[in-house]
Structure formats: C-alpha cells, structure tokens
Symmetry: C2
Subunit: 589 residues, 2 copies
C-alpha cells in the first residue's frame, strides 16, 4: 500500500461488476483527489438466487470518501448510471456531470430512491471543459453509441491527458446527425495522449460495426410487408432504434402504442430533450388502438431479452391484461439476445408462434446492430489518439486480450499495454505504467430487501439444490428428549421413509446428549449448559448424517427448545418424557 | 379417446423432453402393437433446481405396456438412448434393436443401472430388415451424423412406409467412408412413402451443413502452429472429430493423453468396433506424458460445454489433480457452445487465458461443424423420399415451423403437413393425416435421489429466491404459547430486526389461537383439537404476514409442538406460560 500512496503518480482503478473489467466504475486518483467515471449495475448469473442486481465492491471508495471530488456519467445506460443511487447511500459524491439524457434518467432514479438531495447533477455540452478539482479537468467529446447523447472523455491531469472512450462505435451516419468528434480526438493525438482506456466489448469481432442506419431499410421492408397488426421490440434505451421505428410508423401510416415502463420513460425524456421528434398524434393509447384497423397499429414494446416481467414476455404467456396475440400479427425482434438470455428469448418466440404470430428474429434479417465498435473501429480510435500507454477496459478477460493484441499490432509496445482485473491499481507516471497492488474488489449482491451476503447466497444455493430438513426437539437438563422431535422436509427428494429418518435423527441426538454432554457443560458452573454449542453440534452432526443417509445435502435446521432453567427440575415430573415411552429408542453407539 | 382407438389407422405420438418435439421418444401404434423409436434424456433448465436429468412423461407407455413389442435406437447419443435405463424400471421393452456402437454404449448404461436383464439388445447392419411385430417391419438405412454408426429408418406398416430420418446431416465425404445410402431412400421415394418424420434441428439455417471433413485442414493448421503442449476439447460422442484429432496427432508426432470418463469410454468402444483405428502406442498415460517434451503431447479432454465437473473445467479452475495450465499451452475448443452453455464456456476460456494459455475458440476458425443438416439438406431428404405426408420432428416449435415451410416450398400441400406438440396423437390413414387427441405429455425430473415432483420443485424455487423462515412454537389446549417461539432465518435478506419479526409472529399466532380457536375444535368432541388444521392455518397466515413485512417471500415452515393431551391440564400449572410474562404481548387485532 506504500506504493499506492506514492506521490505524483496517477492511479487508475477499475472497479467492475462481475466479469467485465472497469465497466461499472473507474476510479482516477491523484494525490488526495479522486474522480469517478460511471457507476453502473450488472445482472446476476443463474447461481445468484433471488438477486436482482450486482454492484461492484465499494470498500475502497467508502474508505476514501473524503477524497471524492466528483463523478462523470459518460451516457445513460443502466450499466453506467444504475449504481449511483446505491452508492449515494454509502458515501457522498459532491457533483455528477453528464450528458442531458443521462442526467434526466439519473434524476428519476435518485428521486425514486429518495437520494436526490445527496448530490448535485449538472449537464454538459460537447466540447465543454469542466474542472472537477485542481488535478482533474474534464473535456467532453461527442461520440456515437446505441443511446443518444454519449461522450468520450479527455481528462487533463498534471501528468498528461487520459482519454476514456466510454462506450462507442464508429457510426459515420448517425440517426440524430450528431457526428463523432474525430477532430477533437485527432487534436489530442497530435498534442500527445498519455493513456487511452478503451471499450473492448466487441474486440473479438473482426471488421467494423455497421451503422445504426443500416437497420432502416430492413425494418422498412418488414413493416411494409406486414399485413396485420405489428409489434416491435427492442432495448428501451436504444434511442436511435426507437427513432427509426417511430419514423417508419409515420411513413407506413401506423399509430404507435408504447408498452412497458422503461420504454415509456426513455421516449418521454428523449422527446423532451429533442432526441426524438415526432408528432404527438403518432401515439395512441391501448384503448384508442382498439378502434383502429390492425393494419394501422404498431405496438412498440419492451421484452426483447425475454425478461420474465416485460410486456412482450407476458403477451407470449397469454397473461398480459390488454394485449392478446392474434392470427396475422407480425412480431419483430429488433435486438439480438445477450448471451445468457438466449433460451428465454427463443422460448418467447416459440410461444408467440404457437399463438399464430409471424415472428421475425435472427441475425440474417439485418434488423439489429451493436452499439459497440469492432476491431477496425478500435484501430481508428488508437490511430486518432496515438496514446503512449493503453489499457483495454469494459470487457471480459478474453476481449481485453484481443483488444491488447490489436493495440500491439498498431505499434504500441507490449510494456506500454496493461491487462487488468477489477480492483487492480494501475500506477501511471509520465514514462511508466505498472500495477501497484490491489484494492478490495469483487461484487455486492442486492435483492429487493437489501444486500445478499455470501453466507445467505450459499444457504440459498444449498436450499435450491436439495431443499431443507427442519428438526425441532426439546431437550431438558436431565439429558432427555422431552417431545417427539418434529421433522419437516421441504424441497427434498428421498426414498427414505419419514419414520425411518426420524428414528435415525432421534438416535443421533440422543447419542450426543447421552455420551457427549460434558462438552456442553460450563467449567465454572456444572448446572449451566451452553445450549448454543449443543445446538450447533447437533446441527452439524445431523447435516453429516443426512448427507450419508439420503445421498443428497439438504440444509438442516435444528430448532432446540431450551427448557426454562428455573423450572427444569420440576418439569421432569410433569412433562411427558419421550424416551421413556419408547423401548426401541436405545442409546445409539 | 374413442378416436385414438379407431381401428386400422396408424398413430404416431411424439413424447419429447422439454421443448424439442419428438426428440426423446416417438411412439408408433397400430391396432394393439406399439414400437418405440429412441428414448433419450434432456438436460434441466436453470429453474429446475437440483435436477440432473429430464425425461418425458411416460404415463401413456406405462398404461399401454402390454402393447409394446420392441424399440429401435437410431444412434448412440445420450438424447436418444439415455432414458432407456429409467424406462425399463417402469415397463418392459422386449427387445431393442440398434447399430453396434449405440448398443455397446447402451449395454454399459443398462449394466450400470442394474437393468440389463430386463430386455434383449440386438445389433443391426445397414439395409437389414427386422420384423418387430406383425404390423412393423423395420429397415435400417445408413445415414451420416456426428456420431458414427447412425441410421435412418424405413418402417413398413400395413398402411405404407414411414421414413423416420433419425438425426442426420448430408455429408458427401464422411470421415469413416460410410456413405449416406441415398439409393435406398430414392428407391422408397420411387415406390411411395406415406409419411416422412424428419430432424428439424437446423431448420432455421439456410444452405448446407459443411462436411465433417472441412474441419480437418483447420485443425491441421492449428496443431502444426502450436509451439508447446496442446489440449483439445470436443464432444466425447463426436467419434469422427475424435478420429480426426487422433489422425492429426499421429501426423504431427504427438502422443495422446485421453482425459475424462466419457471420452475414454467412447474411444474404447469405437476402437473395439473399428470406427477408430490407430496404433496402441499413440496413447500415453498422464504419468507417461511427463517424460515427453510439451511439443509432443496432445491432451484430448471433455469439457467443451463448460460442464462444471468435466476435466477441462476443473483444469481452468486450477483444481484438476494432475493437469495445470502452463504458459505456452495451446487449448482448442473444437465445439460450439450449445445455447444455455455460452456463459459457462466463455468463463472457462477466460480462466484458461488468465493462466497464460493461448485459447482458440469461436466460429471463424472453422474447427466445428454441426451434425445436423440445414435447409438444403432437408430439401434433399424431401426430394429423395417424396413423402405424401410430412411431420417435422426433433426441434423446438419455431424450427418445426421453418421445416414445414421448407416442405411447403417443395410442393407438399399444407393439409398434408402437420406441426405437433409433445403428446399429440397423429392419426394417419392412407389418404389423411390429422390430430386425434392428446396423451399425457410433459416431463419427469430426476435428481440423484429420485423423481423431483412439481411441488418439490416449487418449494426449491421459493427457497432459492428468498430463503426459509422456520417458526417453532408450543401451544397448549388452553390456547397458550407455552414457550418463546423459536424463529430461524436462512437465506433470507431483510432489514427487519429479528426481535421485531418474532414479536409480529407471536401476535399473529396468538390472534389465531385466541380469536379463531373454535374453527379447530372438533364438532363431536370439544376437547379434540384438529392440530394439523391449526398448523396449516398458522403457516398460511405467517406466509402472508411475512410477505407483507419483509417484502420478500421466504418459505415459511411452522413447527407446532403439540402438547400431550393427557397431561395438558396438568402442564398448565407447571410449565412456564410464555404469554403471562409479557405485558406487551396483547392480543393482536
């Protein structure tokens, strides 16, 4: 940690979520000043039962909260702004700068979480320069991405300029006419860029990512051919795509019904800010659409990823209150499934087709393009900025490796390229880049009720796999089971009969109580029993025993009814003592 | 059901697992004779917690076991023979015919399950004709697929010939020189085929599936370029691919270490039967490989799908006992991830790369081809057999729809094509195809301990999502809580403090006990309490209450310690009565 605190070097610390390095939050630190770039969320993997969102471990920022001078949101995607409301509950961020659309979406989130009073939100314009602290002057450079109003950053530091690309693709024909500011990037390349941090999402893909505009003629053809009602789904945040769909609805004289909360929200903000321009009478309500012929209706809906609660998923299950699929409907997936969502998406497609819809999906239709650049786009970014040092970010390990190879092929020497993991501390001087230790990294899992800690998740994993066996027993100070133990099985599969299982459990408990009692008696006072030790020992013993008997590993919960000590001597005479009634319940060996 | 039993029609009933129609078992029934084609297993989806395998619902076959005359296994893949051992425990199958490799693999499985005595296994040769019963004469036609020794079936019935393709691709240059028997298919086409049941796996893909041989030059190049140790993973059952890899090992003078039980097993059988021919000294043990330079070693391993327990997955985690990744290793994934396995596979790749391996993966390398035909292959099958009726099988719904479109484009009228669901009864006469009811379909889930029923799965899903709360309380016949209730939370996330939660629970129980006691008293005998009703009511009430208080839905288990009735009147005077000690524990409203 000495090295981390060495003066006059710049530290860059990616704190990502899950496997994508530096995706969610990137920390820049110089002397006693920290700025943050983005703070998003990730989505849980299958093993993270009951988890709604995944946040990066923020220990380092909690510990260094006094240094935080401000934050920048590069654009309005969930994986870049979705974590801010959570972080503001843990530490202060004095000010957050971002493009208008991101700030509008963020303001909603902070309001909803009741934390909008804890920071100041400030919108910025392209080419604006903002001094966040004495060491950090940030310049906002327009780029192109799947959401409107997205920025690449040039961060002026005492050691030189750091370019952080944010998410980008190279789109020469952007839908909104907001062109990528190559001139500004080239100017920095000419003056000298100390380090480039660049988006690696599509680093495995050769070639260039197609322009968003390439989708237009394909959607145009599909919409013109649809005979009946039309439903189209895409990512709510893909403002340009939504724009194309709305333009085509106008062209083909269809009224638009917008379905799904996030879609309604993004469209509202994008219209207010002028990123989407269309006449008000293009839209109709669901009710209003009932009076319009099918051929004149276009339903724009969420659910492109087969999300269980999204509108189109519910429609496919037949449990959407207002929309039922009809023979003759054309349903268009203008989005590819993200890995991990494939099965949910194809199942949705199957259900829609079974109800008679003509479903149009799949890559060969040309109705989706990525918002992230491919290898040729990465090369252009490297060529324009000509950085001394290069750090691939925003990708899984193999993507970073490919992106590093691209940079190496472009002439950056291998000692000037660094591949990092989340939590790695990159130390940068004007002539050297190196790793200098590690800060706490990892993830924090959150469900609707709060943080899901590791032990809770482990319990859930065990419960999911093999269920739970609850054993409740009363033991008195005379080492007797005072009730027939209650055994309850939930989510457990076994061929062992319950009475047999109960018998095995009784013998195990009696064995501990009879033969190992001394272990739980206090050294000071022979009348004091350490009941919690006893409970723990019985639970562990039963866990082992049940694993052996059932050949599966349900979670075992042992509930010990502790006798009231003052009455324990009396209770013996009146309570039924279970053991005495059973001749077979001999003490087990 | 009357229609199902109508005489002199042929019934075809696909009984599939999960979404793939007719994949696992296809039933052919004529009058009182049934034959089965294949009986495989499917793998569980993410929501099927703790489930190891998925079988189709076999109710119909259990109910009609007396009709079963025999079965045919078309080839040796798990999804075609993996279910037989389970079914033989439920009903008899007098005889099972299949190709040599499938029968060898099946014999192992039946031995392992201890059911090999319950049927007769019989191998068949290409063009062999086997009479299974008076109505069913089966002819075995060589086809090409990813496993060696695979058959298409021509089933001669009183109504005409049914062609069941089995799994197939059209491979003009098969690795083993066993050519697709187009002549025999054409001969049937010339004579007249009543109905074609055809593999739909790749019905969404235009063009033809490339020959297995196309993989050879690409693997050859990669192996020749590898500087150090080489590991290659593929499906163990892809006998042709394994053959290619072994040939290339010989060519490049590398010794082969085979790792993984299924890989060892398939290679052993394939060598015994002559599908793989290579010198014995090509193979070395893991120990033997230690004395050979890295450049002369090729490790052939399981784990191409990121399966948690497979060898390569354990190697990637660093917990394989004998193999550690070394800088300079080249690791080749000669298989594409099956949808649903993508994330497991890319995580494995990332872990291998982090340890310094050069990992070669992805479609653009041309090191994997599918074993299933695409649209042009489907057209050839339709053109050769010229069936009157067409039923696409072995695919998910959208694949069947595409395959049906292909058949329609080939000139089969839409009333002669039928798209089915699992359990649908297809009724076939010489001039008509129609649906005639449905038999019980669906799935049976099996974990290591036995069948996982729907209620068990629902419990596991609830446990996985929100954990479990156990409440144990003693209530006596005087409507009193006789102990402080024990409350145990596992896998539960909540901000509600445990004492507060316990207080809420106590009040809820007391409310029922005090105000609704009469509901649980027997009409005949006022001293008899229906404790199980009481337990159920308390559990349901607590479930609702906890959902409201915690805003999550853990499973609630209520354990009621029932007092011994004979002593209940006495116990009151001696047992501590919990309520009396607490002034705050008033009866809740």
């Amino acid at each position: 940690m000495n090295q981390i605190n060495k003066e006059s070097t710049l530290k860059i610390i990616p704190l990502g979520g899950l496997h994508e390095i530096g995706k969610n939050t990137c920390v820049l630190e110089y002397e006693d000043e920290i700025i943050l770039i983005d703070a998003g969320i990730a989505f849980p993997t299958d093993e993270m039962h009951g988890v709604n969102i995944v946040l990066p471990d923020m220990t380092y920022l909690r510990d260094n909260r006094h240094k935080i001078k401000g934050m920048i949101a590069t654009h309005g995607h969930e994986d870049h702004i979705g974590g801010i409301a959570y972080h503001l509950k843990q530490f202060d961020i004095p000010i957050i700068y971002g493009p208008k659309l991101a700030i509008a979406l963020l303001r909603d989130k902070l309001d909803e979480a009741g934390v909008s009073g804890r920071t100041t939100l400030k919108t910025v314009e392209p080419r604006e320069m903002t001094r966040i602290s004495s060491s950090f002057l940030v310049e906002f450079i327009r780029n192109t991405h799947s959401i409107a109003d997205s920025f690449t950053l040039a961060i002026h530091t005492p050691l030189g300029v750091i370019i952080h690309t944010g998410d980008f693709k190279v789109d020469y024909t952007p839908i909104d006419g907001e062109y990528f500011d190559f001139q500004k990037l080239a100017e920095h390349g000419e003056k000298g860029v100390l380090c480039l941090l660049s988006d690696s999402t599509n680093a495995e893909l050769p070639g260039s990512t197609a322009s968003e505009r390439s989708v237009y003629p394909n959607l145009d053809r599909i919409i013109s051919q649809a005979e009946g009602r039309l439903m189209i789904t895409t990512f709510a945040s893909s403002v340009h795509r939504v724009n194309i769909i709305l333009q085509l609805a106008q062209k083909h004289k269809r009224k638009v019904v917008v379905v799904g909360r996030s879609m309604l929200n993004v469209i509202a903000h994008a219209r207010t800010l002028g990123y989407i321009t269309c006449p008000e009478d293009l839209f109709v309500s669901l009710k209003g659409a009932r009076n319009i012929p099918d051929k004149q209706v276009l339903i724009l809906t969420t659910g492109s990823q087969g999300e269980p609660l999204a509108a189109l998923t519910r429609i496919s299950r037949g449990d959407h209150r207002h929309i039922k699929v009809r023979q003759g409907d054309t349903i268009v997936f203008s989005a590819n499934p993200i890995p991990g969502n494939t099965i949910a998406v194809v199942n949705t497609i199957d259900r829609l087709m079974m109800q008679g819809a003509n479903v149009i999906y799949g890559r060969h239709h040309g109705i989706h393009v990525s918002g992230h650049g491919s290898q040729e786009d990465h090369k252009l970014m490297l060529a324009l900025t000509r950085p001394k040092f290069f750090v691939p970010v925003h990708g899984e390990h193999r993507m970073l490796v490919k992106h590093a190879q691209t940079a190496y092929e472009m002439g950056i020497s291998s000692e000037n390229i660094i591949i990092v993991k989340n939590g790695d501390v990159i130390e940068l001087s004007s002539n050297n880049i190196s790793l200098a230790g590690k800060v706490p990294s990892g993830i924090e899992l959150v469900d609707q009720a709060g943080v899901v800690h590791e032990n809770v998740l482990q319990d859930r994993q065990q419960l999911a796999k093999d269920g739970v066996i609850t054993v409740a027993a009363s033991i008195n100070q005379d080492r007797e089971l005072t009730e027939l133990p209650q055994v309850d099985l939930r989510g457990v599969v076994t061929k062992v009969e319950k009475p047999v299982l109960r018998q095995v459990i009784i013998r195990a408990i009696e064995n501990i109580v009879k033969n190992r009692w001394e272990e739980f008696v206090s050294d000071e006072d022979k009348n004091t029993i350490n009941w919690s030790w006893l409970k723990e020992e019985v639970e562990n013993t039963l866990q082992r025993l049940i694993k052996r008997e059932l050949r599966s590993e349900p979670l075992v919960i042992f509930i010990l009814q502790i006798p009231d000590v003052s009455s324990s001597s009396k209770s013996k005479t009146n309570q039924k003592v279970y053991r005495r009634r059973r001749s077979t319940a001999s003490v087990a060996s």
